[in-house]
């Protein structure tokens, strides 16, 4: 686009000029688009201090209160599509090394050397929680590695559906590793639906069966510290991962390695190296960059509004940002 604009500028200047050209784009269509955008912003800014909403609450059955989320979703989907095709075209993938994910394989190797089992807990929530799905993703890799090393794997579940899916996942992973005998049905355990009864049951497994490694990947609540401390007492190496912000400090304090928030969701991409999954991690990073820019702009405007209370333009911009965000 910029190249065409420059070419048109040279042509018009050579002819003796047929009018002014835009400084950064040459086509009429682009100028019209920019004019429309400018008009829209001007309308929005002028409407904001009137006390009414800039945007209606609903438009064509779309709830405009949730417009920012829809925009984020569209941005993410677009970035993902672009990055996926770029990855398929041969662009190399790069993922930052995460000590917590590398530690998972080391933990299983440690269990193999000590001749003791690995204990895996895919969180305490049901299968409708995205963290549980992410935990089960990691379970498939853990089961594969455990089967390769011929290490027993115990999976403790709080929900029946999670147990059923975990059984299938471990069975399939053991088969894929060429060791179907590594899947032991008695090692797939449903303990209780009750939070603390489940915790007591897991503590019992840790103290009786003495796993060499405990891997907690999923959604946890107040039982997180009880599990981690009991795992420490039993002498196990512990790798935890959760997106629950309130439980992260306990895992960080009590476990050897912790996957924090987004690292937990990136773990499956890191372990599988599947291009389609890695592309989604990169798309997440792009979305984070956009959020960062929006936050910085908002902070700058809010600071400027506090310092310049009489500037109507800045106040209108701040109000507009508050409304759409």
């Amino acid at each position: 686009m910029n190249g065409q604009g420059n070419q048109q500028m040279r042509t018009r200047n050579a002819r003796g000029s047929e009018g002014r050209t835009c400084c950064f784009t040459g086509s009429v269509g682009h100028r019209l688009f920019l004019a429309l955008v400018a008009t829209g912003w001007a309308t929005a800014l002028s409407a904001a201090p009137a006390g009414g909403r800039v945007l209606p609450r609903e438009w064509n059955y779309i709830d405009l209160e949730k417009l920012p989320v829809l925009i984020a979703l569209v941005l993410f989907a677009s970035a993902y599509a672009f990055l996926y095709y770029r990855t398929k075209a041969g662009r190399p993938m790069r993922l930052r090394r995460l000590p917590g994910i590398d530690a998972i394989e080391e933990a299983i190797a440690r269990a193999t050397e000590m001749g003791r089992p690995v204990l895996f807990i895919p969180g305490i929530n049901d299968i409708d929680d995205i963290q549980t799905l992410a935990g089960i993703n990691i379970l498939s890799h853990v089961a594969y590695i455990a089967a390769e090393y011929d290490t027993p794997l115990i999976v403790a579940c709080r929900r029946s559906v999670v147990l059923t899916i975990s059984e299938e996942v471990v069975k399939a992973s053991s088969l894929a590793a060429g060791r179907p005998e590594n899947y032991i049905p008695n090692n797939m355990r449903y303990l209780s639906d009750d939070q603390f009864a489940f915790t007591a049951g897991v503590n019992g497994i840790m103290l009786r069966e003495r796993p060499a490694s405990c891997i907690y990947q999923g959604c946890f609540y107040s039982e997180s510290l009880i599990l981690a401390e009991t795992g420490y007492v039993s002498g196990a190496i512990q790798v935890a991962g959760t997106a629950n912000v309130a439980q992260l400090p306990f895992f960080v304090a009590a476990c050897d390695f912790t996957l924090i928030g987004e690292e937990f969701f990136a773990a499956s991409a890191y372990l599988s190296r599947d291009p389609s999954v890695v592309a989604s991690i990169e798309a997440s990073d792009w979305l984070k960059m956009i959020y960062l820019i929006v936050i910085l702009v908002g902070v700058a405007l809010a600071t400027a509004a506090a310092g310049l209370p009489h500037s109507q333009t800045i106040l209108q911009l701040v109000e507009f940002l508050k409304e759409i965000m």
Partner: protein, 220 residues
């Protein structure tokens, strides 16, 4: 085909849930609510699977007299006792409701209530109470000045712990203010940053599952 049908079902239901969130159309909300009800009913049946798994593993251990088989027997006896007691209580309440005016009246002082209030509840509270001691032992292990990050953690934890108790204000009047500032500004900023990252990760994982890019429920 065996792998495609679950993926199609997952995509169909997932897309409807997304549409329900963004749309105000009554039809979409009705369909999405119906799908949610189907999910609840399906999950309710799954409790049977969990009970069967418990019985299978523990009964086998009891019959083979494996190590600690007594505790497994106790588990099975407790489970069946509560199930029977709960069933009796439900039956009595239903009978009362049918013989009366049709309204549901809770019957008190049953065996189920006794075991719930005097056995289950104290046991649950006991496990929860372990947290207090585990916090102390975890703090004792974690708050060591091994490197710069651990030292920062130690200093922040000490300030917050002292600032939150009355004796902190007695030692120095700035402690309560400092701990309030720490919890309000740096702590909240850090938490929000993690939450934003986790939320984006959830969007990415959710879309991967809905559109079949990742199929954690269908490994093999």
């Amino acid at each position: 085909m065996r792998n495609r049908i679950p993926v199609l079902i997952s995509a169909f239901v997932g897309i409807f849930m997304i549409l329900k969130y963004f749309s105000t159309a009554a039809t979409i909300k009705r369909v999405a609510d119906e799908l949610e009800q189907w999910g609840v009913v399906t999950l309710s049946f799954s409790i049977v699977l969990g009970v069967l798994n418990l019985i299978k593993i523990n009964l086998k251990a009891v019959m083979e007299r494996k190590k600690d088989w007594g505790y497994k027997l106790l588990l099975l006896v407790s489970m069946f006792t509560m199930m029977i007691a709960g069933g009796i209580k439900w039956y009595r309440e239903e009978t009362l409701a049918q013989s009366g005016d049709g309204s549901t009246t809770a019957i008190k002082n049953t065996l189920f209530d006794f075991m719930f209030d005097h056995v289950y509840f104290p046991l649950s509270a006991t496990i929860f109470a372990l947290l207090a001691f585990y916090v102390a032992s975890a703090a004792f292990r974690a708050f060591r000045a091994k490197n710069i990050h651990a030292t920062l953690l130690l200093v922040a934890a000490v300030i917050v712990m002292i600032g939150r108790v009355p004796v902190g204000g007695a030692i120095w009047s700035g402690f309560p203010w400092l701990q309030e500032w720490l919890m309000t500004w740096p702590n909240t900023a850090g938490q929000r940053a993690i939450q934003i990252g986790a939320a984006i990760g959830m969007i990415a994982t959710g879309l991967r599952v809905i559109f079949g890019i990742e199929k954690p429920y269908l490994k093999g």
